[in-house]
Each structure stands twice: as structure tokens, then as C-alpha cells.
Symmetry: C2
Subunit: 215 residues, 2 copies
DNA sequence: TGACAAGGCTAACGCTGTAAGCCATGCTAG
DNA sequence: CTAGCATGGCTTACAGCGTTAGCCTTGTCA
């Protein structure tokens, strides 16, 4: 059971509850006609349940009780269906990470963000892989979505380069874990903590002196 | 023009030239019959020049002047061809990174490793993606290859978890750069440096106190 | 000389995304 | 009320994919 990000919009916090540096959730580009919404929902479900190999136009059509060519009355191509799924996934990920930096627990903000990210990604492996690998047609996404989804990393570190580095670390860890690429017997909890410590120290120090990385 | 890792074996340094903690280059599993070698070479060339979409059994057969079904006299499946390419790529990457930690320049060992890794990966995008994403059938690789290829990260950091975290950072940076997933206008040099600094400090400190990450 | 393995070949299957064109339904303008 | 048109189904079909089955030629060796 996955939350539909489109239904969460009314739960947005008012402006005054935004953290310093935090950015508002963008609007969806447009309402989706029923058939489009059904197709995207089916695509997401089939993808998550049975993997990318199961997501074919004929299969999606089956889920709606129609024939594959009819889908082309609603989508230009299979890539367009996938893009819509990617869009939903990015809203999902943004919701999870924005929530993580607002509700920090005992482990501190940075590890809280990393843990939330990891937990979400591992429980939606196929969705995450689809959303984060391969070319992304930026101009077809709702404006501001990408920025908003990446914003928590900046809020946490207070520095654009550190944010980017931290997110890259998290992404690398997650994809390697999803593909079982870490050496067998790895103690991944410790690795996550090691990364968290490395960036935590630097972020704390960065706040103090305000120096750059170009020396 | 890419170096064939199979021809470099005689350039291995003798044992006494290994750095502390460094591991010896493993042997290849077996000699490849001529047709097999030709096919793998063609696959690598087509992949690097024209992308994964161009690597089809019919296309590879074309490169050898034969028909697609004949390839199945030499390979069990297309995946077997790809696995052989992956094996070569891992030898390549291992060679590059082992060389980087032996010939450190003015920038220090950690940034030297990161820079060498980045440079190689960016100049072989399709090869790198093939070698590092998706499921890897470990049991079909030459024994020790994976360990040897990942060994430089351990040598540089002196700690398995820090090594894994650093490599994940590098991998995340590279794949996001290859797919143009970093926000437009990113100053990636600074981001690489930020990551390098974060891990460098921790590695230096780690050598000192020998504490773990489990607190 | 006969047997056999190696390595080509063609034909074909089931799958994919997708184009072309037909047809029923329902809304809307004259 | 009816003509026209957009919407969204449908069938048929195509090219390309990985792969299988089965045939045939060539070279090697007993």
C-alpha cells in the first residue's frame, strides 16, 4: 500500500512552519484524466510488484481491460507513462525526506535524513531505480519538483556542495545495496554511520567558518 | 582506443612493491577462444561507441561477419557476452585505481584516487554503467576480482566501512554525472572536493584512535 | 575411410513498442 | 432533429529483439 502523493497536497505545512532554507512543495503540472491516472497507477503497481520486465504496454492495457494500442490514445509512448511514474516517485521521495528533516529523532538530523531515505528506497526498489537512473527529461517535469525533492539535503548541510556530496553518497549506497553490489557480509549499518559522521563533522565546521572547497 | 586488461598482466608489480594492505591482481578465469574474444571485443566497442541499445546479438554477429544464431555456439546467452565485458571492465577499473594509489600526485592519495576513478568512468560511460548496475552473478566472475578491484578504497582509508562509504560516494557522484542528474549549473569539482575533505579528515583521525562507528 | 565435433546456416517462435486505419459512442452547432 | 466531429475503443500489421531447432559443411583423428 503506497500513499498517493497527489492526495497529500492539502497536508502541506503553512509557510511559517517551513524550516530555514526549506522550499515549498510545487504544484502538479495538471490534473490527470481518469484513464491516464489509471494507467500510471497500474504501471506503478506492476513495476513495484513484479519488476521492470513486467511493465509492458500490453500488460498495462490488460490491467485496464483494454488493448495495448488503445493506450496510445492517452500517451505518446511508453516513456511518457514511465515519466508520469517517475514524477510520482519524486513527490514521494520529497515527502519522505522533507518529513525526515522536520521530525528529527534522537539520532540527529543528518542520520535521520539518511535513514528515512534508505528506508524508503529499500522498500520501493524498482520505483527508485526507475526514478533515478537513465536520462531525465527535465523540461517535462513540473517546475520546481527536482529542486524541492533535493532541498532537504541542502537544508541539513547548509552548503550546496556538501548537500550534493551527501546525496551522492546516499544514492550510491542505496543503488549498490539494491543491486546487492556491496561485498558479501558487509556491515552496512556501520557504513551508513561512517558516512554520516564524515559529513556531520564537516557540516558542523562549515557552519562555523564559512570557508569554501576550492583550495 | 582502450587498453585490453588481458595484455597488462605481465606488468604486475612484484610482491615487494605492493603497498601495505594492497592485494595482488587475480588471474583470469581462462583463456578465451578466438571467436569468444572477438565477440567480447566487438560488444565492448559497439557498447562504448553507440550505447547499450546498439548491442544486439544480430549486430555483434554482423561485426564478425556471421549470423546471430551462430553466436550461440560460443555463448549461452546475451547475458554471458555482457558478463565477459563486465569482467574486462572490472579489470580496467582495478588497474586504474591501483595505479592511482601507487602514483599519488600533489593532491594527496584520496583525491588522487577519486580523480582517477572519475576520469576513467566519465570516459567510458556505457561500459561503466554496464559493469556497475543491475545484478552481478558473483559466482561466474574470476575469484578475487571483485575484492581486488575494490581494494584501493580500503588501502586509502584503512577502514572497511570508510572504504565502502567513500566508494559509494564516488559511485553515486559518477552515475549521477553520467546521467546528467545533478542540478544544472552544479560545480561538480567543488562537490568532489567537499566529499574528499569529509572522508580525508575522518580517515586521518581514524588512523589515530582506532574507534568504530557503532556508537 | 568412417565417425564425430565444431561452427556455420535458415526458418521460425514469441515477445516487444508502435503505426495505421476502422468504427461506435456521445456531445454540440446549425 | 440532425450533421459533424472528437473521443476512445478495436484489429491488423510491422520491424526488431533474444532464442531454439534442425540442417549441412568442414576439419580432425581412429
Amino acid at each position: 500500500m503506497t500513499t498517493d502523493p497527489r492526495t497529500l497536497e492539502h497536508e502541506l505545512p503553512p509557510d511559517e512552519e517551513l524550516l530555514p532554507g526549506e522550499v515549498r512543495r510545487p504544484d502538479h503540472r495538471s490534473e490527470r484524466p481518469k484513464r491516464v491516472a489509471q494507467t500510471v497507477a497500474a504501471a506503478r503497481k506492476v513495476l513495484e510488484d513484479e519488476g521492470p520486465g513486467a511493465v509492458t504496454m500490453r500488460r498495462l492495457a490488460d490491467e485496464l481491460g483494454i488493448r495495448a494500442p488503445s493506450l496510445y490514445k492517452h500517451f505518446e509512448s511508453k516513456a511518457a507513462v514511465e515519466l508520469a511514474v517517475i514524477e510520482d516517485a519524486m513527490f514521494d521521495i520529497g515527502d519522505v525526506t522533507h518529513r525526515a528533516i522536520r521530525e528529527i529523532g534522537a539520532m540527529g538530523p543528518l542520520l535521520s535524513l539518511l535513514t528515512a531515505y534508505r528506508t524508503y528506497c529499500l522498500s520501493h526498489p524498482n520505483l527508485y531505480r526507475l526514478a533515478t537512473s537513465g536520462h531525465l527529461p527535465r523540461e517535462s517535469l513540473p517546475p520546481g519538483l527536482e529542486d524541492w525533492a533535493g532541498n532537504p539535503w541542502f537544508v541539513i548541510t547548509g552548503d550546496p556542495h556538501l548537500a550534493q556530496a551527501l546525496w551522492s553518497f546516499a544514492h550510491g549506497m542505496v543503488v549498490l545495496e539494491l543491486d546487492d553490489r556491496h561485498p558479501p557480509g558487509s556491515e552496512l549499518e556501520s557504513t551508513w554511520r561512517a558516512g554520516a559522521v564524515a559529513f556531520e563533522r564537516l557540516a558542523a565546521q562549515k557552519q562555523g567558518d564559512g570557508s569554501g572547497w576550492d583550495a
